[in-house]
């Protein structure tokens, strides 16, 4: 390759990018960086862990993006440099391989390979050369012969096109990285929890944003099956997909068997059981039944008053099931318990509400709360993913394996033979061979021919 000498610094950077040393260094640095993310808590785990750090450590965490190593700027930058190095190295290498394959030049004899040398009697190098050429032609796809005043040089090569498959492997790596980037940019990963008889039309993405699916998903059923020994056997969510109010598709989603609807795949991710409280509220002019769980927020008549379900207790200090309610209104904050067994407690303990005002279910006037019971309710965790990068990544995966198999399983070998007439002794013959996986043996037929020649049996012919 011609290099412009005027641009010296450019050259330095260029030759550094070209080097295989940089490639190996990058591979090792990326490997080391990847270890970081497996020992430092990532994502949600990191947010629990960071507050325990000293201020400067917290700063370091934020600056280096250590709570999300694999998506941090420096990690991605390393990947980008690796890609550039891969492209540049491959193009440079491809050029020289191409010109060799196009028969423009012969590859030089490798210096560090040990040659098989033999001295044979006679001086008819042309005859020996022709015989060797015939052997080579049988075994090698491409054979070149050069005759320069008695000295004969032969070159044989097989599988010369197979070596191009290594570029297929490099290309595949780039395709996979491209596909991954494409998927991150244009796809999403969402999550929703839904109980039997409920539906969802929005999912939470990884960065806690709500994403509208454009249709709704109704949970017909959620079931867990167990083996005899108590181990879980199957988690299954029966889902209906609705556009408008019409059921368009029904599907059972089990682990390893997702369902697909409108380009989005739905996966059985996990499940959770939440204790759910069945409550009633009485107020002047009406009564209402509600089902709530921890974290629920609801409104009754007044739009400015928010009722928060703070805790659902299956057994509050031996008094039975209870729900802790907090009310946020224009008059401030009121917090109290609603107990299922409140009537019994009232008869057992005189002046209960005077002694423990927070046990009064009428703490927030004019509402009176009643707890009818607490039930466990199963919520199935459904992942909803869309990844437009999949075709690219899949193509890359297939290409990488094809390329690797072609590169390493297809026989590739080069052989160099030189015959020099040395009048005093006869002819000096040197053979250097180089196979893909380090096979440096000259072919047996060549050795046999030369050994026969040495013994003076020049009429020996290879069959």
């Amino acid at each position: 390759m011609k290099i412009n000498k005027k641009r010296k610094t450019g050259n330095k950077i260029w030759s550094m990018l070209l080097s295989l040393r940089l490639n190996i260094t990058l591979l090792i640095i990326i490997a080391l960086a990847s270890i970081l993310g497996t020992v430092i808590p990532q994502g949600d785990a990191a947010s629990k862990f960071i507050p325990h750090l000293r201020p400067w450590e917290q700063n370091l965490f934020h600056v280096l993006g250590l709570s999300n190593v694999y998506h941090s700027t420096w990690f991605i930058a390393l990947g980008v440099i690796l890609c550039i190095n891969l492209i540049v190295c491959s193009i440079k290498d491809l050029r020289s391989s191409w010109s060799i394959a196009k028969k423009k030049i012969l590859p030089a004899v490798p210096r560090n390979e040990k040659a098989y040398t033999i001295v044979v009697p006679g001086s008819n190098s042309a005859d020996l050369g022709t015989k060797l050429e015939n052997i080579l032609k049988e075994k090698y796809q491409r054979v070149e012969k050069k005759d320069s005043g008695g000295s004969i040089f032969l070159f044989g090569e097989k599988g010369s096109y197979a070596k191009f498959s290594i570029y297929l492997v490099h290309l595949a790596v780039l395709i996979i990285i491209l596909g991954a980037g494409f998927g991150t940019m244009f796809g999403f990963e969402g999550y929703a929890e839904v109980a039997k008889g409920q539906y969802f039309s929005k999912v939470y993405t990884k960065d806690n944003q709500l994403k509208d699916l454009g249709f709704s998903v109704y949970c017909d059923d959620f079931q867990i099956k167990y083996y005899k020994n108590g181990m879980p056997k199957e988690y299954r969510s029966d889902l209906s997909f609705l556009v408008g109010n019409k059921v368009v598709k029904k599907a059972s989603v089990i682990v390893n068997h997702p369902a697909k609807f409108m380009g989005i795949r739905f996966y059985q991710s996990n499940y959770r059981d939440y204790p759910e409280a069945l409550m009633r509220v009485n107020y002047p002019g009406g009564t209402r039944a509600i089902r709530v769980r921890e974290g629920s927020v609801f409104k009754l008549q007044d739009q400015e008053t928010f009722f928060h379900v703070l805790r659902v207790h299956k057994n509050l200090m031996g008094m039975g099931p209870a729900v802790e309610i907090g009310v946020h209104s224009s008059n401030g904050w009121v917090q109290f318990f609603v107990l299922e067994n409140i009537e019994k407690l009232k008869t057992r303990i005189p002046n209960l509400f005077q002694r423990f005002p927070s046990l009064d279910p009428s703490s927030f006037k004019p509402y009176t709360f009643y707890l009818d019971g607490i039930q466990d309710r199963y919520y199935t965790g459904i992942m909803a993913n869309k990844d437009p990068g999949i075709p690219l990544v899949g193509l890359g995966g297939i290409t990488i394996i094809t390329g690797l198999l072609l590169t390493f399983a297809y026989p590739q070998k080069k052989i160099w033979v030189s015959i020099t007439v040395n009048n005093a002794k006869g002819m000096d013959v040197a053979v250097v061979a180089r196979g893909k996986t380090g096979d440096t043996n000259p072919d047996r037929a060549i050795k046999e021919l030369l050994e026969h020649y040495k013994e003076g049996n020049i009429e020996y012919s290879h069959t």
Binding site: L20, R21, N23, I24, L27, I28, I30, A31, S34, I35, G37, T38, V39, Q42, A45, Y70, K114, A180, E189, Y227, N229, M231, P232, K233, E234, Y235, I254, V255, N256, H257, P258, R265, Y267, Q268, S269, M383, N385, D387, I390, V393, G397, I400, I401, L404, L405, F408, A409, T437, G438, D439, T440
Partner: protein, 276 residues
């Protein structure tokens, strides 16, 4: 039944190892054939043990390939190592190398069969493992691991011979040049199989977890292993001391293989089935 056969197999491999040591020390060539015969016997028993275990799981009504927990993976790992050991044994140039491969298979079998921490019972498959990808993923990964183990054994011998004063014993072992070729060949075989393992794993993850790559510790460590072996295979084209670099990187790769296989269980993640 299967666990009894498999624990016997452990001792057959130990015997083959001892016989090959005696061959190495005394130089008696006929012992080589005996080593081979004993190893084959162990291998037949080993294969039978795995097949019987498979049948027994069906009898229990929870039929699945014996590739689902730590015990089964160790036994299968040893099996794949012996597959490679038998291939090497057929090569004349590689004479004596098997003596170093056999004890690895023995150690895996011994750990699987006799460690009190390992449950040898056949367990049903948890929902996450119920996939057709299980067999393909586990087989390619472990064949890859085994080829890496073999490459590492050769690397170890290479470095042993690469010292200033290589011991007397190392003289009876193949030349460095041959060793280098064997390290490279095994690493290449391992690399292709392990790449297939990662790809089948990605496809499986796509169906099971919704994403083909989630930076789960096991996935990440598989990538680290892959990167190290990528570097090792490229190191052949850089610098003068090619064999030594290849051998050192292969041994680092082996450490990463073991961390990928066992170490990650101590990190939180999705691949935690092996813990039990």
């Amino acid at each position: 039944m299967n666990t009894v056969i498999l624990s016997w197999v452990t001792f057959i491999y130990l015997a083959a190892f001892f016989i090959s040591i005696i061959r190495m020390v005394t130089g008696k060539e006929y012992l080589e054939k005996i080593t081979y015969a004993v190893t084959v016997t162990g291998f037949v028993g080993h294969t039978a043990g795995l097949i019987i275990r498979w049948f027994e799981s069906y009898k229990l009504g929870i039929g699945h390939a014996p590739l689902s927990n730590l015990y089964e993976s160790l036994v299968f790992f040893a099996w794949t190592i012996v597959v490679f050991s038998l291939i090497i044994e057929r090569r004349k140039e590689a004479k004596g190398l098997n003596t170093f491969v056999l004890p690895v298979a023995f150690l895996f079998m011994a750990y699987a069969s006799f460690s009190p921490d390992i449950d040898t019972k056949i367990q049903p498959l948890i929902p996450a493992l119920k996939s057709n990808w299980l067999v393909g993923h586990v087989i390619t990964c472990f064949l890859g691991y085994a080829a890496f183990v073999v490459a590492s054994v050769f690397s170890f011998i290479y470095l042993l011979k690469d010292r200033k004063n290589p011991g007397r014993l190392s003289n009876s072992l193949p030349a460095k040049k041959i060793l280098e070729r064997y390290i490279y060949q095994s690493a290449v075989v391992g690399y292709i199989l392990f790449s297939l393992g990662i790809i089948t794993g990605s496809v499986w993850a796509y169906y099971a977890w919704g994403t083909y790559w989630g930076w789960d510790p096991k996935e990440t460590w598989a990538l680290i292993t892959w990167l190290i072996f990528t570097a090792a295979l490229h190191s052949r084209f850089v610098g003068r001391n090619r064999g030594r670099h290849l051998a050192i990187l292969t041994l680092i790769g082996l450490a990463s293989v073991f961390f990928t296989y066992l170490g990650v269980n101590y990190l939180p993640g999705l691949h935690s089935y092996l813990g039990s």
